[in-house]
Symmetry: C2
Subunit: 199 residues, 2 copies
């Protein structure tokens, strides 16, 4: 039985390392790249490397950004009184897309996960505390994920920040918009009932 | 609202051109590449370009291959009496993986699609006929896809090749192994009944 030609196989092996890409998808992608115009493949390879070269970390909020300070930290129009703490830059972009937040961010670059050996010293916690010393920040809105790690991180930060006299809030949990009550999981439903509001 | 940093966005735009990759998947892949080690991203970029440089077309069977003649055409152990005609190299590899075929291949590099302007002159039909002149090939097994285009191509080839005194066969259609009769589409069921065999 003849095997997949080496150069093709090498590409497939590299592609399956990507998250959510299985053997079949890798094969489809590799064949697409084989049939596509050469400059299309070159453009993708170049974009991958350029992205690695051009992205840096904002020294203020620790977000991955094309500039330092990042676009948001450098924007004087945004309120410096409220800082939204997220786990990573993807979460920050998600909050930005919602269009509902006009303050600044702080990217922890992870969440507490003692079982995986991720402690507070592995996160950008020290950098966050340093931003709270001059009294300009009035509120820290913790928007870590509603997972065990994210919740633990939120509790840890609240315990650390409250004594500094800064208000600490947590992003709300409840029914996602458009959800069907019947299919919402019990944990979410529990949180939604608990977090009910007057109307 | 701050936008996705430029270098990241450029990569996402390149990734969404790939088949089956939507905006969300592209974003996940881009963030993975951002967090992965630099040499991992470099290895993927290099594999993409190397694949384009090192792959060539076999001048005998027209398959995409790392060598010319390809591994299969150069293998004297394989029967030259039967040639399996497929639409593209991915289909050839699928037949190889089945381990049930020990002859040679011919890759058409497409299927007839008059509506998309793909005629016989766009396929490697001339190269196939050239292989049938010396009488060494006794059978042509047409394994184009069971689609409108693949079926039309199969009929076209049969009409062309039969007069040369070469046996022309079509890969069997019927129930896929492990299928549930109840959920098999009517066209497949029809073909399966029509193609029944004595047992």
């Amino acid at each position: 039985m003849a095997t997949v030609p080496k150069p093709l196989d090498r590409l497939i092996q590299e592609l399956v390392r990507l998250p959510g890409i299985g053997e079949k998808t890798a094969m489809r992608l590799a064949f697409h790249m084989l049939r596509a115009e050469r400059r299309e493949v070159e453009a993708l390879a170049a974009a991958m490397l350029a992205m690695r070269d051009e992205m840096t970390t904002c020294s203020l909020c620790c977000a991955l950004s094309a500039s330092d300070p990042c676009e948001i930290c450098g924007d004087s129009q945004r309120s410096g009184e409220i800082v939204c703490v997220v786990e990573d830059t993807a979460d920050q972009l998600a909050v930005e897309r919602s269009g509902s937040f006009r303050g600044r961010y702080h990217v922890l670059q992870g969440a507490l996960a003692p079982l995986d050996g991720v402690g507070p010293e592995d996160l950008r916690v020290r950098e966050l505390l340093a931003r709270l010393t001059d009294g300009a920040v009035k509120e820290v809105l913790v928007a870590t994920n509603p997972t065990a790690e994210g919740e633990a991180t939120a509790l840890y930060l609240a315990r650390l920040i409250k004594p500094l006299g800064v208000r600490v809030t947590r992003i709300a949990h409840g029914l996602p918009m458009g959800a069907d009550m019947e299919y919402v999981d019990t944990a979410t439903l529990g949180r939604a009932l608990e977090g009910r509001r007057d109307m």
